[in-house]
Point group: D2
Chain length 336, copies 4
């Protein structure tokens, strides 16, 4: 018996990636795909699905969605997602929200960074943050999970073990991240046009990117000390991948090998986190749910480097990992 | 004394390339840049010009344009260009038209392929086709030149010498062209978004591309025999460059070396056409006004291969080459 | 009970792709990886396998290989493969040969194109050509299969149905193919260095590429008439993918829709061949074992266009498809 | 009367770029190109020069070189350059050394980082560092200039004005740089093969890159205080360009606008340094000798971002800028 699934907002890259993963999943059936504007066959919207999925996009009400799906993956934009999630939950449908709507624990922080009123403020702070490596216990029993942002996943996974074990200062952390262009979505914009991005690298949103509070919230929780980070994202001429080069300070003198050992211990049983000795490459994790992490001590600095596929471990792969946990399937199903 | 220049439609890639070339030209002064919608500083529209050109885009009437420019380069879309050119000419301003409006010699052919009425049909057939290598005599004395399409330049230059010397059949020619994405313009579209084009090659507009009649017109004139060609353009994941692989048939048995020699003879004094023995690469001509051409005889086929930079020899470089001829400057000025 | 597998020549891209597919296969166990020179852990040779496969490369004799593997995939270069295959077969090990050694049916043709003596000439002509869509009956019962070349797969699949049904002339076919750089292998060479290939497209080996006789052999068999083709490969700036634009002539007047219908009929039950109406893109099949094919009639020409991933359907995916057939697993296992 | 020029080590990317710039220079004549191994026509070594430069590479002695060149550009590797420079200087030939040999002011530092004895240690400390924006006075009267490294140029230009004016601490500076692949040279290596670099970003040589002491030397001189920097280079999937994102600390509270004003003042008369308000892109300076620099104050950090073309302002363009100064030509000749 397959779990029935609807994907909301099925025109974009995360939805496409999600569909591809679910088509490999032996225990799921995609019953509906929604879009508010596009009602074409999914094969026309995503030609890579030609002959693989016989569904058209539909503009469905929450009730219609709930009637045909035990689980909903929301690939809607922020705000739009939180406008529909409460009703879906009320029908007993479980939801994996890939938007930013339920990641932050307080409405005021959300409103500061997103400059809009939150449609469902009371639920904030009660929704597990969908990083199984840190919050598996909460995820297995939730009916709603906030799937993490792509950049936060790449920053939190290397930092938390070193902060929790008291190896690095939670203050004064600099996160210099480089992302492929797919992270900017599928809506045509001058800034993501091929001839603008190709043969080009540039920083954007220095100090103002909306993933900043998400990282700070988890770092603050791990350190028990309110902290801010400096986050500098860059657009890199490639489809996929995030490489985060993260600069922090050791609390006391420490070696590269000691920190590698701490990371290995922390993630020893994790199927998707690989602590490597070499410097990670985004290509090595491209198309996979794996995270590669390493660390170096240079002078008075600790540099951690992590690589993920922004659309998989940074979005749709993590979403299926959460789904597997919530529905009691083997965590790695469809993800190896 | 510099020649004063206005560029119409200054927001796109061909205009940017034109500005960069003209900034290196010792005998020109750009006096105005037009746009119907954008009135920002050109440095904001094209940040690569930061600190290099202190002009804002303006929405100017033909009269205002003519008042400050001896020469106008039109980077407007087709139809839009022919709507303004006649008035500009009436004021004595000379025009280099980078649009398709004056390339075809008959209004009916134009209207078949462009599906619109031509705004200035009487002038068609009287405007030189701006390929100096073939029509230099007409260009030097014209007040309006039709700058060729990028694909036609890449196809016509290798074909015409072999047709004129009776080496290949003018019939049954197949032109398989591969173009960089900048050829599709700077207007945001799903089809030219980075994640759609990168790591991807595909054919488009097979048998229906609007550059087809332009090629056929010149081939027909060269052979004296009405001919059609099969033209298949492809979008290639690179910024710039067109590689055309062209299949034709020898009229009588001939060798690769004989055809190379005919091409060398034909273009012996041309500063921008290089007949090479190796197979051309778009990268070798990228950022230049050069054309690399070679030829191979294989079985009963003649294969010519040409490489150009679509924005330079395929657009703005050719435009300046025409400008140099029209205004009696050294033909290679600003182009080496 | 898993089928035990050894991969010969495990340092290259096809071996890496093969390992990744087999790690998803529920019925296989990789027991050994060979290399004549490299004895490092496979994680160091292919860092994308970090923490996923605990094997080192070994220089093993055929006897040692046979002792631990029911099936051998050979990713060795041509000649090297045929030097070891006979002994492996003699021990009862079944072999999927990804080299060119057993694809051609006659030693003299092999020697003409590969300029070397064939080490195992007597077996030529008796080994099934590993395109399941055409030769499934032979593959299921063989102990050795010749996995097709990447370009031939992209050319044969669209052509054979149209030839067999008498729709197109088997003569005078032009195959203009565009391949990603991974097809050139992992050995460092100037021609495949990043700054030489990026932002560049060029033709190579016009009329002399070794995949030519492989295509001709299958086309000849399909038409019953000895034929040659003109094959022009191009290096395209992308990792993966082959797009083949193929020009042929209809035997009698025919429409695009009629030809689409013939293709659909021919491949109706094939899990990996998708006949599409739009023009195929390599990206749509990237990372998959699918083939997208379409056809257009323009004037007196039939143009078929196909897209594959050169490393999957063009190499390692096809190899696993053959493996599944030979070992009686579901044909699509590990390939969806 | 043109200045006669020989280029040593003419097979690589910096030599090619140098030749292209010099072909546009009205006052130079390239009389010889050297290579120890390659004696082919330069058109075969660099096909982009087809029909543009009729010279073959030669293995020449210093005496032969000096006999035909008033100026030598050395594109030799480190050590190799310093082995030949003294003899060239002894004949009165002036030298622009693009290698690292004369950049550091002390032999012991050189030997620590390059792990070899310096062949000409006595000259160290007396050779001007070829950044005209900082050392023009020394450059105009030298017979030997040490052309800066590409990364150092991108880091020093934004940092020095802020250090000299007491705006930022010279301590604890983090330089996170992203470079195109051409920076790694033209010698075939696995790490710069197309399929290894494309769709990939990774850090390399963290804390150990040889450009580190070069940056530290100039920062130390500017601050009057011995300092170290943390330098993290990254390989980015593009041909050209370096983007450096540099993290430092303000000495006292300061605003973004104040720092922008300081930078504008410092470089007001510099033809190639553009202080911009937007975040720089490598593409905006690609193929040019321009540097784009901006600055942001975020929390307790100052972030400067700079973009250069690593082969032009980071190598051959700077070399010609130095040449123009040394030979009393207009500094911008051939560089606009």
């Amino acid at each position: 018996m397959a779990t029935t699934i609807t994907i909301l907002g099925a025109t974009g890259y995360t939805a496409l990636e999600l569909i591809k993963i679910l088509l490999r999943h032996p225990n799921t059936e995609i019953t509906a795909l929604t879009s508010r504007e596009d009602t074409r066959s999914v094969e026309l919207v995503h030609p890579s699905l030609s002959g693989r999925l016989n569904l058209s996009l539909e503009n469905l009400s929450p009730k219609e969605i709930a009637a045909q799906s035990e689980c909903v993956f929301s690939c809607l934009p922020h705000i739009a997602s939180a406008k529909i999630v409460p009703e879906l939950l009320s029908y007993g449908t479980r939801v994996i929200d890939l938007s930013a709507d339920y990641r932050l624990s307080a409405a005021d922080i959300f409103e500061t960074w997103y400059a809009e009123k939150h449609p469902d403020p009371d639920r904030l702070g009660k929704v597990p943050y969908g990083l199984p490596e840190l919050f598996r216990d909460q995820i297995v029993k939730t009916n709603l999970v906030a799937n993490p942002g792509c950049y936060p996943t790449s920053a939190i996974l290397p930092l938390v073990p070193l902060i929790k074990t008291g190896m690095i200062e939670p203050e004064d952390i600099i996160i210099d991240s480089k992302s492929g262009i797919s992270g900017a979505g599928r809506k045509p914009k001058l800034t993501t046009l091929y001839p603008e991005c190709n043969e080009n690298i540039s920083a954007y949103n220095i100090g103002t990117h909306r993933h900043t509070p998400e990282i700070e919230q988890i770092i603050t929780a791990a350190s028990g000390k309110k902290t801010t980070v400096l986050f500098t994202p860059h657009l890199t001429p490639m489809d996929r991948g995030i490489l985060s080069t993260i600069y922090s300070k050791p609390i006391q003198p420490v070696t590269t090998n000691e920190l590698l050992e701490i990371l290995r211990d922390f993630y020893r049983d994790e199927p998707f986190v690989k602590i490597v000795e070499h410097l990670p490459s985004t290509k090595d994790v491209s198309g996979t749910n794996f995270v590669h992490i390493t660390v170096r001590v240079v002078g008075n600095k600790v540099i951690t480097v992590s690589a993920i596929d922004n659309l998989i471990k940074g979005a749709s792969g993590a979403a299926v990992q959460n789904f597997n946990l919530m529905f009691n399937y083997l965590e790695t199903t469809a993800l190896i």
